[in-house]
């Protein structure tokens, strides 16, 4: 059974992410009164980009090519550290939560360095914003992880994330609600969604993530888009453990339940993107400070 779960875990991690982007786009189209692109359009896009050639700027060095690859490798490894649904993570050890958070740091280091490698001012702006906003979202993430560690009494992500399911009591309800709000904001910021960043914007001056990848093309761009969707899946799965701590205890029911939940989360993100406008760039730190405060208060409430 563990082997089956392992295979399913890897399959979901590798195959599902682009579908989430499809669901988000479809939801936004539905809100806008359009038919929208097919649900599987992100897969077609990735396949098309993989067949295309690359244009490499003469300014760039090997860092430019390494950026997307390191990003993809780190988010996939992070995906192996978290449990999906009620099933244990393939890799679990004491203190893996720190590796989980720092893998995103490694990805950020190389994404932003690859952006600076082009020497373009737009990409400089994008990477400056990315690293700046991370300074607030990272402590928020750690506060949330500390709440989960305290609830479950463990420092292993598998046990910690299943804490809300297994060790739920009335005392931990309020902290969990607070950190789920904080984690949702962190999710939106880290995956560059409205209200922090607009993935569909067309003005380089106002972009974060899209500004950093202006010069990537062909297979490298497809790796970047794919890695971004995997990141959405990974962080979304973490959030699901907090906001939807249900399981049936049966393998053939729990996997479909997870699929419904994660696609539902994608739809929620689509709704948020449809009903909100993007914040002004100088207001984003306030939103993230809010997330930090939510998670911090959650922790204080728990240890009072």
């Amino acid at each position: 059974m563990t082997i089956v779960n392992l295979i399913l875990h890897v399959a979901v991690l590798l195959l599902l992410p682009p579908l989430l982007l499809g669901v988000i786009t479809k939801t936004k189209a539905w809100f806008g009164g359009r038919v929208g692109a097919p649900l599987l359009q992100p897969y077609y896009d990735l396949a098309k980009l993989l067949r295309r050639g690359m244009v490499l700027s003469t300014t760039t060095t090997w860092v430019f090519r390494a950026g997307p690859i390191i990003t993809l490798a780190t988010v996939l490894l992070a995906g192996l550290l978290i449990p999906i649904g009620g099933f244990n993570a393939p890799i679990a050890f004491t203190g893996d939560l720190i590796l989980f958070a720092y893998l995103f740091g490694l990805a950020r280091f190389f994404t932003t360095s690859a952006a600076l490698d082009t020497g373009s001012a737009f990409e400089g702006m994008g990477s400056a914003r990315e690293v700046t906003f991370a300074c607030l979202s990272e402590p928020a993430l750690f506060f949330a992880l500390m709440v989960l560690a305290k609830v479950s009494g463990s420092l292993t992500l598998t046990t910690m994330l299943q804490g809300p399911t297994n060790a739920f009591s009335a005392d931990v309800a309020a902290p969990l609600v607070l950190i789920s709000i904080g984690l949702f904001i962190v999710l939106l910021a880290e995956t560059c969604r409205i209200p922090v960043d607009d993935p569909n914007t067309h003005l380089e001056l106002t972009m974060i993530h899209e500004a950093m990848v202006l010069d990537h093309s062909g297979p490298l761009l497809s790796v970047i888009l794919y890695a971004a969707s995997v990141k959405l899946l990974v962080l979304g799965t973490v959030l699901l453990h907090v906001i939807a701590p249900f399981e049936f205890g049966k393998v053939w029911l729990d996997w479909p339940l997870y699929l419904v939940e994660i696609l539902g989360l994608a739809a929620i993100i689509g709704i948020v993107e449809s009903v909100m406008a993007r914040l002004q760039m100088r207001h984003v730190p306030y939103l993230l400070t809010g997330a930090l405060l939510f998670c911090g208060f959650g922790f204080i409430l728990l240890i009072r």
Partner: protein
């Protein structure tokens, strides 16, 4: 035997600069001899340290010292642990100096630099192995004074002279505190020996006094946040390999002093751990925030030392909390994290300063905003700097992650079982990590990536082999500890024993509480995967068209239109406006064709520029009246001497007898 060999290594190091003094200024033999002697001493010392750490402590030895009983030296795991960075960086420095500070270009100060380099290494090694307060102070002063002469290597420059004076004042305030500390120790325990004392030898008041004196004296050397003021200037104006030594190793002597000293004091109160944790959090956060505000590459690296000392202190704080509350697990994790970070920081910070030396050499400036695109001209230096940058941010798969991971684990375990002080540590450390990433992306991106911003940066050349070898060696150390942390497990187990003795429990093995093997496997497979894909992508079949960077259709982009380091950091600097208080000159742009203008911004040091110097000027103002007596005229001073002599003569006058005679009449 290994203790004798260590003393031989110290003698070799101390003597390394001497032969050069007897050779002609133009002769290049002196620097070669110094490098060989230093390399020999360093290898001997490293072998001794390795044998001691892995094979157990060496018996102590005595040297007769008429003034203060017998001077004792000994080599235990803790001493050996700190000998490793001393001899590693100490041995690599002269090799680096062959290319960076060659005698034929620096005839006036090259010999001085090598002499004091050798003495610095010898002084540090001596203080690390001494078990006697006087021998410790001897080593401490040799270290402090030779560091002063090294900072003042270029004493024809005003900046160097000023920085070295500030350093000298700071270090002597520290030494004065240590005098007080050891005098009190001698007074209460009755001996100069640095041996653990019994439970009831010291009263609580004395314990507190000893702790705070040690914190002040050693904290000044380590550069803990309010006491760091001497550090940025000294690190920035010294030659780069001296900065590497100061930042990588000399600061760690403060940490060594603290660790050794706290191991002597029995049953520490819980407040000490909280104080160390708070100092660590402040140093970590403010160190990196001030680093982000800097425009000078070496000042920026210097502030990062403050940050890393903060991380080390967070580890020590957890360990102290564990000692006072009887949790050997916290002690093992916290102390292992702190001590491993001592090694790691000395490796990657020396590496970064070595790389900075090569860059500054090539670009002829220390201003980050005047560099750019140097990775093309200096690929080796760029790759080494990247290794150092990833390591100092604490990112996997390099060594910085391993030590920060221990500190995190210690903090989390403490926080979960009710250690309130440790709760602040985790988010602070997370924020420090994110800010460090921001800072080093800024540095690496602006210095090495993109296009050159000035002509000098465009004409930079790769550093010679003698400079690249030390960088590669240190980079290899970073990668080795990062990829195979299992190797350092036994070393840390042996070293943390010095604090675990009184935690009152069976031996805690680091490998049992922190799965080092998994980290090794994951780090290795991540690196292998990325390397494999990179090789695959590097195939010519996949390489495709080359073109210019997308610039929104602008026709004539120049290197100066790139995003600068100052702009990159601006949002964070504004966010910490209250602490950093950036100031500068902002030109007003008027009209359709404004004239050329300059923008200038600067972040002052919080303590030196905002507290100490104004306070100094204020005190100077109070004593203005003294100028009336102090005019610089020789005649006045002769007059003062006459007055003094007269006053002294008056004491000879038999007033008493006279008065008695007077009243008797």
């Amino acid at each position: 035997m290994f203790l004798d060999l260590t003393i031989l290594a110290i003698v070799l190091a101390a003597a390394s600069g001497l032969p050069g003094l007897f050779l002609a200024r133009s002769s290049v033999r002196g620097e070669r001899i110094a490098a060989w002697l230093m390399a020999g001493g360093a290898l001997t010392g490293l072998v001794c340290a390795a044998v001691t750490v892995l094979g157990g402590g060496q018996p102590t030895a005595f040297f007769p010292w008429p003034a203060a009983g017998n001077a004792v030296v000994g080599l235990d795991a803790l001493s050996a642990f700190f000998l490793v960075p001393v001899f590693l960086v100490g041995g690599l420095g002269p090799l680096y100096g062959l290319g960076y500070w060659p005698q034929r270009l620096h005839t006036s100060n090259g010999r001085k630099l090598r002499l004091f380099w050798g003495l610095l290494v010898a002084g540090m090694a001596l203080l690390v192995i001494s078990r006697h307060a006087m021998a410790f102070l001897l080593g401490w002063e040799i270290m402090a004074l030779s560091a002063f002469f090294l900072v003042a290597t270029e004493d024809h420059r005003e900046e160097s002279r000023r920085a070295s004076w500030v350093y000298l004042v700071a270090t002597h305030v520290g030494t004065l505190t240590l005098f007080g500390l050891f005098a009190l120790w001698r007074h209460t325990t009755g001996s100069y020996a640095l041996e653990p004392v019994g439970q009831d030898t010291l009263s609580l008041g004395t314990l507190h006094l000893l702790f705070f004196l040690a914190l002040l004296g050693f904290g000044l050397k380590a550069g803990v946040m309010p006491l760091h003021f001497w550090l940025p200037g000294a690190h920035a104006s010294a030659p780069c390999h001296v900065s590497a030594m100061l930042s990588g190793v000399v600061l760690k002597m403060g940490i060594y002093g603290l660790v050794r000293w706290l191991s002597l004091l029995p049953s520490p109160p819980a407040a000490w751990g909280s104080i160390i944790l708070a100092l660590g959090a402040v140093s970590g956060l403010l160190g990196v925030v001030f680093a982000i505000g800097q425009h000078d590459l070496k000042r920026l690296l210097a502030y990062h030392s403050v940050e890393n000392i903060g991380i080390i202190l967070l580890g020590l704080g957890v360990a102290m909390l564990g000692r006072s509350s009887g949790h050997p697990e916290w002690v093992a994790l916290g102390l292992a994290g702190g001590l491993l970070h001592v090694w790691n920081h000395s490796f990657f910070k020396s590496l970064l300063f070595f790389c900075a030396g090569a860059v500054v050499h090539g670009a002829h400036t220390r201003q980050i905003d005047r560099m750019g695109g140097m990775a093309k001209a200096m690929p080796w230096t760029a790759a080494c700097f990247l290794v150092g940058a990833v390591a100092i941010c604490g990112l996997p798969p390099l060594n910085g992650f391993v030590s920060e991971w221990f500190v995190y684990l210690g903090l989390l375990k403490t926080a979960l079982s009710g250690g309130t002080a440790a709760m602040v540590g985790v988010p602070v450390l997370a924020m420090v990590g994110a800010l460090a990433v921001a800072c080093f992306v800024k540095v690496y991106g602006t210095v090495f990536l993109g296009e050159p911003r000035t002509r000098a940066a465009g004409h930079a050349r790769e550093a010679p082999l003698s400079m690249r070898l030390p960088m590669l060696a240190l980079g290899a150390c970073c990668a080795l500890i990062g990829l195979a942390p299992v190797l350092v497990g036994p070393v840390l187990d042996a070293t943390t024993a010095c604090w675990l003795a009184d935690a009152g429990a069976e031996t805690v093995r680091l490998g049992h509480i922190a799965p080092l093997g998994v980290i090794s496997v994951l780090a290795f497979s991540l690196t292998a995967c990325v390397a494999g894909v990179m090789v695959f992508l590097g195939r010519p079949a996949l390489a495709s068209r080359a073109g210019p960077t997308w610039d929104c259709g602008y026709a004539r982009p120049t290197g100066r239109m790139q995003y600068t380091a100052s702009s990159f950091a601006q949002t964070i600097v504004l966010f910490f406006n209250r602490v950093l208080q950036p100031h500068g000159r902002r030109p007003r742009v008027v009209g359709l064709f404004p004239p050329p203008a300059h923008l200038h911004s600067h972040v002052d040091d919080a303590v030196l520029d905002r507290v100490l110097l104004p306070a100094g000027h204020r005190i100077e103002g109070w004593f203005n009246w003294f100028h009336r007596f102090q005019r610089g005229l020789t005649q006045h001073y002769v007059f003062y001497i006459l007055l003094t002599l007269l006053a002294l003569l008056c004491t000879l006058f038999p007033f008493k007898a006279h008065l008695a005679q007077w009243f008797a009449r």
